[in-house]
């Protein structure tokens, strides 16, 4: 059927080279594949979330994909007002009959890049830089730590969070500053889960001749040779599928959890990081992937008990 899809990005905007950009890529790909036009909107302040969604809904757009957990309460309100409109929310669960919730097992993907980080590190010291200090990001951190320890139990891990508010997603200068401090303390691989802030982290890694690890989108190309890999969170796929399902009338409300097994998370290999990934690393990651998908290795999810065993 004909659909009029729409995307509402979170703060940071569609070109954050990370989370929101993943959603943008998915929507663009769909447009390229199917020729379907879509509308999108970048949030500047909180009161706009509701307004944007309502505005789209009023114009008969559907499905409306809301990117990010911050959209939940606004989406809940608008979804109730427009029961005929299909809503999809990424990274958060909203329990309504016309809402589809997509969440990811970020800890699994982070585990894999953790292995790579540990193996690529020469100093045995690696870093993690989170965006906003929230359980979701601690979930990334916890999976990463588990992966690092899995590959090198003696590794030392530095962790920093950028801040406590939404601004922490969009502060590359501070991200760079934190990365520098971790490099200064001896780290030589740093993984970020910080949205737009991560651009500064990867930049600092490139400037210092160290390695960064990207997140959400494939960020390998940002600084070829300096980005070890990227933890892919297939927001693009989620958006694409939401559009496609709606067009095919197979769109269903409810929760879908996308992990390694479902192809929802992954790590990025391409010509930009070809030389950085050794065969040993490939093998180790392949093994871990196998174990996780088969269920023989369980990566702890921070959000299940607000604690990290490491």
């Amino acid at each position: 059927a004909e659909i009029k899809p729409a995307v509402v990005y979170d703060m940071g905007g569609r070109f954050d080279r990370s989370f929101n950009q993943g959603a943008y890529n998915g929507a663009e790909k769909y447009k390229a594949d199917k020729g379907t036009e879509y509308r999108d909107f970048e949030i500047q302040n909180d009161s706009q979330r509701e307004q944007a969604m309502r505005n789209f809904a009023r114009r008969g757009m559907s499905p409306i994909v809301a990117i990010g957990f911050s959209q939940a309460s606004a989406l809940e309100k608008v979804a109730k007002e427009f029961p005929e409109t299909k809503f999809t929310i990424i990274d958060m669960v909203v329990d309504l009959p016309n809402v589809q919730s997509v969440v990811f097992k970020e800890h699994e993907g982070s585990f894999l890049v953790g292995i790579l980080a540990a193996m690529a590190s020469e100093t045995g010291k690696v870093g993690f830089i989170g965006g906003m200090d929230i359980p979701l990001i601690r979930k990334f951190a916890c999976g990463y730590v588990q992966g690092v320890k899995y590959a090198n139990p003696n590794a030392e891990i530095f962790q920093n969070m950028t801040g406590t508010t939404g601004a922490a997603w969009n502060d590359p200068v501070k991200g760079g500053e934190l990365a520098k401090s971790q490099f200064d303390r001896g780290a030589d691989v740093v993984y970020h889960a910080a949205g737009g802030t991560g651009v500064g982290v990867l930049q600092a890694a490139a400037d210092a001749g160290k390695l960064g690890i990207g997140v959400d989108s494939n960020q390998n190309a940002l600084h070829p040779g300096s980005v070890l890999t990227s933890m892919l969170k297939r927001v693009d796929v989620a958006v694409y599928e939401a559009f496609e399902d709606a067009a095919n009338d197979t769109w269903k409300p409810g929760v879908s959890v996308l992990g390694l097994a479902e192809g929802g998370v992954d790590w990025a290999r391409d010509e930009n990081n070809d030389k950085l990934i050794t065969d040993d690393m490939k093998a180790a990651v392949a093994k871990a992937t196998e174990e996780i998908t088969s269920g023989s290795l369980a990566v702890h999810d921070y959000m299940s008990d607000s604690a990290c065993p490491m």
Partner: protein, 323 residues
């Protein structure tokens, strides 16, 4: 990693974070010492950062970006001057207007040029100011204490950091040892005295705000082409106001203002590293407390609890000869 090394690293970061504050605080000083309140530092810094990033991106050269930043901020200070010096408008209102205007305009133009949500494209290596290794830094790196002081702390910053620190004695010299400085200080204290001494008050004040523009332009360029690698919407995040606070804290004098900037920069560097960190014995220190400290200190100073800050006498008053 011993504690000494940690302190060095923190101080190293302090130099980086206080650089834009120093340049902007000196900028504020030139303007305010001549009697014009410069609340517009924040907006000018933003304008400078945007122009620097944009022009450096197209030109592939940070120096051209820097010139563009200065051109922008000087024009903004001329606008400020036009409103408050020529038309005797309210200086606070003009400053606020410029801040708000630039917050919108940089984003708007950024979106129009690059369609990246108000960001400018990331600058590559050659379009940014790169760290400079001071002579012999590598050689002495292993000498205990002094070696790491030199190679870690002093060496390895970009040119704007060194310019900022050299700007302080230079500003002092200009202020207190030159004709220009004497007249500038006089016009902020008693413009009538300057006028009757046969010096144009208006021209003098314009020159002062232009100096202010040059300095704050460098500060903006530092943010987007030296410390960072692109412009982001509202990337100054209150640094203009912090610089103003530092200037007040430094009682409108270059060296005390430098120390205030270093203090505020240090607090910033410390706060950045403290997010989510549990200190042994103390627990998690709220970073917000550390972040608020510069403002709290400035208020305490203004309240006269730690020495009195006496502003230039005619600060905020347009020069009116004929009622």
């Amino acid at each position: 990693m011993d504690n000494f090394e940690l302190v060095i690293l923190l101080l190293d970061a302090t130099l980086r974070t206080s650089t834009p504050l120093i340049l902007a605080a000196l900028a504020g000083m030139f303007s305010e010492r001549s009697g014009t309140i410069n609340l517009a530092l924040e907006g000018m810094m933003l304008g400078g950062a945007f122009s620097a990033a944009t022009v450096a991106y197209y030109a592939g050269n940070p120096w051209i970006g820097l010139l563009a930043a200065i051109a922008t901020t000087v024009s903004l200070s001329l606008l400020h001057g036009f409103a408050c010096i020529t038309h005797k408008g309210n200086q606070v209102v003009s400053g606020m207007a410029i801040n708000i205007l630039m917050s919108g305009l940089t984003a708007l133009v950024g979106i129009a040029l690059f369609a990246q949500g108000g960001k400018t494209p990331s600058l590559d290596h050659g379009s940014r100011f790169q760290p400079i290794t001071l002579p012999g830094a590598d050689a002495v790196a292993d000498v205990p204490i002094l070696g790491s002081l030199y190679s870690e702390l002093l060496s390895g910053h970009n040119i704007l950091v060194y310019i900022a620190f050299l700007a302080v004695p230079a500003a002092w010299w200009v202020m207190y040892r030159t004709r220009f400085g004497l007249r500038l200080r006089a016009v902020g204290e008693n413009p009538g005295a300057v006028d009757t001494a046969g010096i144009g008050v208006i021209a003098m004040r314009y020159r002062a705000v232009m100096c202010s523009g040059v300095l704050v332009g460098m500060s903006g360029a530092y943010l987007s082409t030296a410390q960072g690698a692109s412009f982001l919407q509202d990337m100054t995040a209150g640094k203009g106001y912090i610089a103003l606070a530092a200037m007040v804290f430094g009682k409108w004098r270059p060296f005390p203002a430098l120390f205030a900037c270093l203090l505020f920069g240090f607090l910033d560097a410390a706060a950045t590293r403290m997010q989510g960190v549990v200190l042994p014995g103390i627990g998690e220190v709220p970073v917000q407390l550390v972040q608020a400290l510069p403002y709290v200190l400035t208020v305490i100073l203004l309240a006269g609890f730690i020495g009195r800050a006496i502003p230039p006498k005619s600060l905020g008053r347009p020069y009116v000869k004929e009622r």
